[in-house]
Structure formats: structure tokens, C-alpha cells
Amino acid sequence: MSSVYKNINIIVKNLISRKARSFLTILGIIIGVAGVIIIISLGAGAQSLVLGQITKLGTNLIGILPGKSNDNGPPAAVFGVQVKTLIENDLEMIKDTNRIPHITDIAGFVRGNITAISQYDSIDTSFTATDGSYPRVQNVEMERGVFFSDEEGRASANVIVLGYDVAEALFPNGNDLGQIIKLKTSGDDGVSIPFRVIGVQKKLGTVAFQNQDDQVFIPFKIGQKQILGIDYIQFIRAKVDSDENVKTTIEDIEQLLREQHNIKNPENDDFSVRDLADAIKILTSITDALRMFLGLMAGISLIVGGIGIMNIMLVTVSERTREIGLRKALGATSKQIRNQFLIEAILLTGLGGILGIILGVVVSYLIALGAQYAGYDWSFVISLSAVVLAVGVSVLTGIVFGLFPALKASRLDPIVALRYE
């Protein structure tokens, strides 16, 4: 044991006496390891940024539409065909947390076209009639005022929330809260219903090919019964508590609706339940491309680091070979030489690996801090597998290229190694 310690002591002295070479070897490993950690962390951070943008629209959402659809195409309702199989009772049943435990909020929707009239102007727009739970299902940001509450929604209060563009058109002076507007359906027998403006949504722009600012929100029942005169629901949107529960919740809802609709064979479903799988698929393909690109860069950084290590090791082969010759001439056995160089390579690469991890983590953390300071939704992520891979490859390169020439030299006759040039 003490001889091992003595051995390590000598090796450390030896390494210190070759500062430049030891430093360059360690540097190669530091660059390889830190580079990979930083690049992978950047990738994960950028991914979190992209995901964060999407989350703003709402995540873990499930859409329930009337009518059967197969997995390849959208349900008929999407094309404007009115399917009446989804009714209010379905919505109430889905709300039952005993049956569907993972739903946090749920809102039913009907939509239609309408003319909105204020004392200043009128505009043709679309209305969305929904529940007071809407802001909890989808992320809603208000420019001013509030969204209508659950009570107002249930009570079919005559309150309305305007999209940004609608508010601008109807109230050019901006003084819209508390004002009364009328919604008028087209046709001779059209109804005209007054509403009090209680809120205006922030400007959202176009999301999913729809101008979010050119619409108004009113309580569900008014839109369904009084304006459209129907008794079914066009679609339901539910929010699930976490990503992992989306799939089971979809199955739970399907199960429930089949019971409600007396459907034995899933082939005969008169509804469809979907998550944001399509959007996620697109998102995944984008972030996958990003990760592949970054992975490539990380690979290049590893190769650069590896070549650095290789270079140093190979450049010093002749010096090392002579040293090995001397050590053998002084009585070292091949095994002792091998052990010395193995311990040396492990010490060097291990130190480089540790320093590389520290540097990589610190730099990644600083980048995350900077990005967060700049207002980006950037997470600080360190991938364990990236660390393991980077350290593994660097250490292996160091050991192979440090040890292999040494092993070769240790098999030479001392005089041959001593004269090596």
C-alpha cells in the first residue's frame, strides 16, 4: 500500500516536472468535456425557451370534438359540418373528478359569426361562447379589465370580453370598459343582445392560423341558446394536470363518453378526443433538428479535444520512450512501467475531466443566468449522459494515447528505447 502511495507520489512529481505537457493534456480534456457540457446545456436551454413560448398558449390540453375521426384526418366538425353528438351532460360528466381525476379545468365552446355594434362603430367578427373557466384552461392575458367569472358564465350574465382589434375598432378612444355593445346575428329574424364590456384581451396575433384579436368572448349559454339556438357543444377543451397524464386522461374520457353514448365498439365512436400531439410532433421535429445540430457541434468539440490530447501524447512519445528506456535500464519491470503510465494517464485525464466538468457547468450556469437576466425563459440544464459521454471519450483518448506508446516502449530492449528518436 505504501509502495502504491510512493509510486503515486513519484508520478505526481514527474507530472509536475513536465508542467507544459501535463497542462496541455489536461487542457485538451477540459476543452472536450467543457465544450460538450456547454453545448448540450445550450441545446437544452434553447429547447426550454422554445417550449416556454409554446406553453404560453397552454399545455397539456385535450380537445373533445363531436363526430368520429380517424387518426390520420381531422374530425368532420373541423370542416364546419355540424355534428350534434356532444351535449352538455357529457361536459358535466367529464368534470367529475372521480371519473377523470387528472383534469384541472374544462371549458365548453360554441362559436359563430356576429356583428358587434358600439355607439361609435360596428364590426363583423366571430364570437366564442365559453365558460368562466376558460382563462384557466388556456392562457389568457388581459390588456385591461377581467375575464368573466364562473358565476357570470353560469348565470349567463350579459358581459363580454373583446379581442384587442375588436376593442380598437369599436372604441377608437380606448374608453371601452363598462360600455354597452350589441351583438347582432345576420338575417331578418336575427337577434340583438346587449352586453357590458368587462375586459379586453392583450394583443396575441395569429395563433394556429387564427387571428386571436378579432373575436369576442361571451358566456356559453347565451351564445349556445340565444344566438345560435342549438343545444349541443361544438367542442370541449380540458386541461390536464401534467404531461404524463394526458394519455390516460384521453382514455378515461373516451371510456366515459362511450358509456354515456352507449357505444360498445370504439369503431362506432361519435366523438374524438385529441391532445396537442400534432403540435408536439412538429415541435419535437424542430427541437430534434436543433439537438442533432448541437450534438454534432459537441462531437466536433470532443474530436478537437481528443486530437489535442493525441497530439501531446504522440509528440512526447520519443521523449517518453527514452525515459522508459532509462527506467528499464535502472531496473523497472514492464509491469512497473505499465502501472506508472496507467496511473499517470488516469491522474491527468481524471483531473482534466473534473476541471472540464466544473468549467462546463459554471459557463452553462452563467449563460443561463445571462439569458434569464435578459428576460428569456431559459432553464439551466446539465445532461448527465453528456457529462458521462464527454468524460468517457476524453479520458479514453487520454489513456489510449498515453498508455499505448508507453506499453509499446516498455516491451523494447532498454538500449533500443534509450536510443529512440
Partner: protein, 238 residues
Amino acid sequence: MLLQLKDITKEYQNSGVVTKVLRGVSLNVEEGEFLAIMGPSGSGKSTLMHIVGFLDRASGGTYFFDGEDTKDFTDDELAHIRNERIGFVFQSFNLLARTTVLDNVILPLTYSKKTNHEKLAKDALEAVGLSHRLNFMSNQISGGQKQRVAIARALVCDPKVIFADEPTGNLDSKSGDTVMGILQKLNNEGRTVILVTHDRSVAEHAKRIITIKDGSIISDERVTHQKKSKVVAEEQDV
């Protein structure tokens, strides 16, 4: 008989061309001898020394070291012999660079079973008169001092034979004389010393000179008037 060589040959093959360096050398060396191997460069004297000193292998012939046939030695046994029973001094010193004098002398001890490394190394350095340079780096001392460190390193494991390959070749005459004095002193203390040189005046410090030419021994003579190094001469005067 310490060393017994019979018909030792050595040939190198270089891209199909065979070069015969030793053409059947037979030589006996008794314990306590001071032998100089002389000859012009390319004569094979260094090769012979390397074979005798276990740094190289003969192509043919037999070599008995201390009564044992070296043919049967394994690599590890050879390493132990190099470590414990012989010491080697090179023309170009071959010290570890950027390493202290003391650590250079300790180096062979790390491969031995001996304990008390520092004490042994200090004793060896005292024997070559370098006790005041223990913590100097090997590249901070003069050539003569380097060779004395190398001798201390050859000496530190208490070997039976010391091989010195042109030990004065890279030194000025004064340093060379000091080095030869140390070798003579070691021989006077009973250690066998084998020296390779191309320089007659250096060889005359030994008690016996063999001359090699073209891979064969052409003469083997006793030195009648052993040249005394000033170091040894002064000590004997006192």
C-alpha cells in the same frame, strides 16, 4: 568468475542488410576487476557493453553472469538484475530532467525492495561528493556533477558491477578526471568496474584493457602502470 562470455555475436538486420557488429567475442571478468574496453567508434565496444550490462541481447553465444546462464532469464529477472546487481553510467548522463538530484538517485530504489530510500540516496551522493547539491534540479548542475549524480544513481542499489559507457565523453578533462577518480575509488573498495572508451589515456585508469576492432577482441593486456586520477592520488598521499 563474475562474467563469462563465449562466442558472443550480435547482428542487426536493416531492410534485409545484415550488419555483424560482434563476431564471436569470448571474455572472462573476475570479481573486483577494473576493465576498460577500448576501440574506435563502430568497433562494437558499446554493443558488447550493452549486452554484458543486460541492456541488449546477443544474437548468439553464451553469457554466464555470476555463474548463471543469462539465456534462461525472463524479462522480469533481467529487470531485477539491472536493478540490484549492476549499475549503468551513460555518456549522456540520462538523468530525469526537471527532477532533483536526490530524486534522480532515488529512482532505481523505487524499483527495488530496499527501504530507507532517502538515506541510501544521500549516502550514494556523499560518496560522489555531491551532498551539497541534493535539491538542485538535474539541469541546474554542471556536466561533471551530472555524471557524478549518474554514478551515485548506479551505486545506490549496491551493485556488484558498474558499467560506464564513455563516462568522460561529454566532459572536460578536469571533470573527467574527477569521474575517473570516483570509479577508481569504487574499484579500490572492491567493486567491479567495466569501462568503455575510445581514449587510451582514459582506459589507462583501468587495470586491464581489451581492444576491440571490427567486432573482435584484438588484444587483452594488463595495465602495468595504472594511471591515478588526482582525486585518488591526493587521497593516497594523505
